[in-house]
């Protein structure tokens, strides 16, 4: 089970809830892979990809509404991750016919969520909690 521990929390509910939702989907994918339900896992990867895209859009709108000073840099980071999402989807589809790739997919999903998404979002932890406190 993939859990978002306190060191990965921004302490800002809308974003933390999004991250937890993504972690739940990753857990579902890992469970499907463990149960060798590979077709289900490919569908779940698709769901993860779509949910992540929505998360990026919502987050960028939120940061723009608060005039986050490093928004352009964060958007550029999202752009590189969108390319990685295509790789993840490709891996998810390939696992259906190549079960031996399940470990790689599992590993990449966890890095993508914890290292690529959440670690970067933690950069605006102080900014967003202070902005929210002013609202």
């Amino acid at each position: 089970m993939v859990e978002i521990s306190s060191t990965f929390e921004l302490k800002y509910a809308p974003i933390d809830d999004d991250h937890k939702h993504l972690a739940d989907i990753v857990t579902e994918i890992v469970d499907a892979l463990d149960a060798e339900k590979l077709s289900d896992s490919a569908d779940l990867v698709r769901k993860f990809v779509e949910t992540t895209r929505t998360h990026f859009q919502d987050e960028e709108a939120l940061l723009a509404s608060h005039n986050y000073p490093h928004l352009d840099k964060h958007k550029a980071h999202h752009a590189t991750l969108v390319q990685k999402l295509e790789t993840l989807q490709d891996m998810g589809d390939k696992v259906v016919d190549h079960p031996q790739a399940a470990d790689s997919l599992r590993k990449e999903l966890i890095y993508f969520l914890m290292d690529d998404i959440i670690n970067e979002d933690l950069n605006f932890k102080n900014f967003i909690t202070e902005a929210a406190a002013k609202d």
Partner: protein
């Protein structure tokens, strides 16, 4: 999540900033490699994770427990971190067994002896248990250092250029064994190196670091090698051929065919980077992108050859550029031999020119 979590670490020595906002995650059982040139802050980050430097900004957590930052500072000896130094730092006056047992001072005598025997077996040094470090080869010393680092069953292992003191043959053998031992231990490992081949062999994930002490790109070895985000990251993996030109119609023309350049407008100056191993060399034209070239020199590197060449139809042009191709095996041509060079467009990287 068990493992190492570093977030937002900044560090400076006086006015010199060595780390600027580094964040990374190393899940338990995984090996993450920091790849970058000397002076980019890699070793400083290891020392911060070990508690050998005072954290100035950011936070470091091991197995979800904050060990530095947020007003917390856990002493190095309480972090359960195994640190393997670049020079191994073995105690010269202690034999192999006592070097390993040194870190097991909290264990009972019998448990420490049993654990020492176990790790000596893992690294294949049982027969050297009572030898002193100076009587061992470099590779054996490296394995003693590894055994000492993992003996206390740490939650995190830190490896600082662990193979740099070994000769080529030894390095290949020892890194394979080291990787096996670490994977068997299931411990989170953060390794630093400036050697791209070492990073690609060892790492589950590579973080390419810039000279400013920041991470420029993170990804699987395949991803970071074949899809570098910028020129700096592309060059981390070795010398490249460079063609400076202009974009036109979302593509660039090179002597080796047309390469896509979707991010560039007409007239933009761009650099096309091509790794020597991305070219193919053949005795006959192979597809429309093949180009006739004349070989200037060929250097046998052991399992491959590095071949220098110029475009055959521009030999009188003083600006005719020298290119390099690396091919498997021995290529020992006569002087001025003419061959064909090919390039798959997707193997060329296009970045903004200066």
């Amino acid at each position: 999540m068990d493992g190492l979590h570093i977030h937002g670490v900044h560090h400076a020595y006086g006015d010199t900033k060595v780390l600027q906002g580094i964040s990374l995650t190393v899940p338990a059982g995984e090996l993450v490699c920091l790849l970058g040139p000397s002076g980019c802050g890699k070793t400083t980050l290891l020392r911060l994770a070990a508690g050998l430097e005072r954290l100035q900004a950011g936070s470091i957590a091991i197995d979800e427990k904050v060990v530095a930052g947020d007003g917390v500072k856990v002493l190095p000896e309480h972090r359960r971190v195994g640190y393997m130094f670049q020079d191994y730092a073995l105690f010269p006056h202690l034999d192999v067994t006592d070097n390993i047992m040194f870190g097991l001072f909290r264990w009972s005598g019998e448990e420490a002896k049993a654990r020492t025997a176990e790790v000596l077996r893992q690294v294949g040094l049982e027969q050297h248990a009572h030898k002193f470090p100076h009587t061992l080869s470099g590779g054996q010393q490296q394995r003693v250092a590894l055994a000492r680092a993992i003996a206390p069953k740490p939650r995190l292992v830190l490896l600082d250029e662990p193979f740099s003191g070994l000769d080529t043959n030894m390095r290949v053998r020892i890194r394979e064994q080291t990787l096996n031992v670490l994977k068997e231990a299931g411990v989170a490992t953060l390794m630093v190196t400036h050697d791209p081949e070492e990073a690609m062999y060892m790492a589950d994930r590579i973080k390419g670091m810039g000279e400013g002490g920041n991470v420029l790109q993170s990804g699987r070895p395949t991803e970071i090698y074949y899809q570098p985000v910028d020129e700096y990251v592309a060059r981390l993996f070795g010398p490249v051929n460079e063609i400076v030109t202009e974009a036109r119609g979302r593509e660039v023309k090179t002597p080796f065919g047309v390469v896509p350049a979707r991010d560039y407008a007409d007239g933009d100056r761009v650099k096309v980077l091509i790794r020597p191993e991305s070219f193919s060399l053949s005795n006959a034209a192979n597809g429309s992108n093949s180009r006739r070239v004349e070989v200037s020199a060929s250097h046998l590197l052991g399992d491959s050859s590095l071949v220098e060449f110029r475009l055959a139809d521009q030999l009188d042009d003083s600006e005719n550029q020298l290119f390099k191709v690396q091919i498997p095996g021995n290529f020992d041509p006569l002087d001025h031999t003419r061959v064909w060079i090919g390039l798959a467009p997707e193997d060329a990287f296009v970045f903004a020119g200066d």
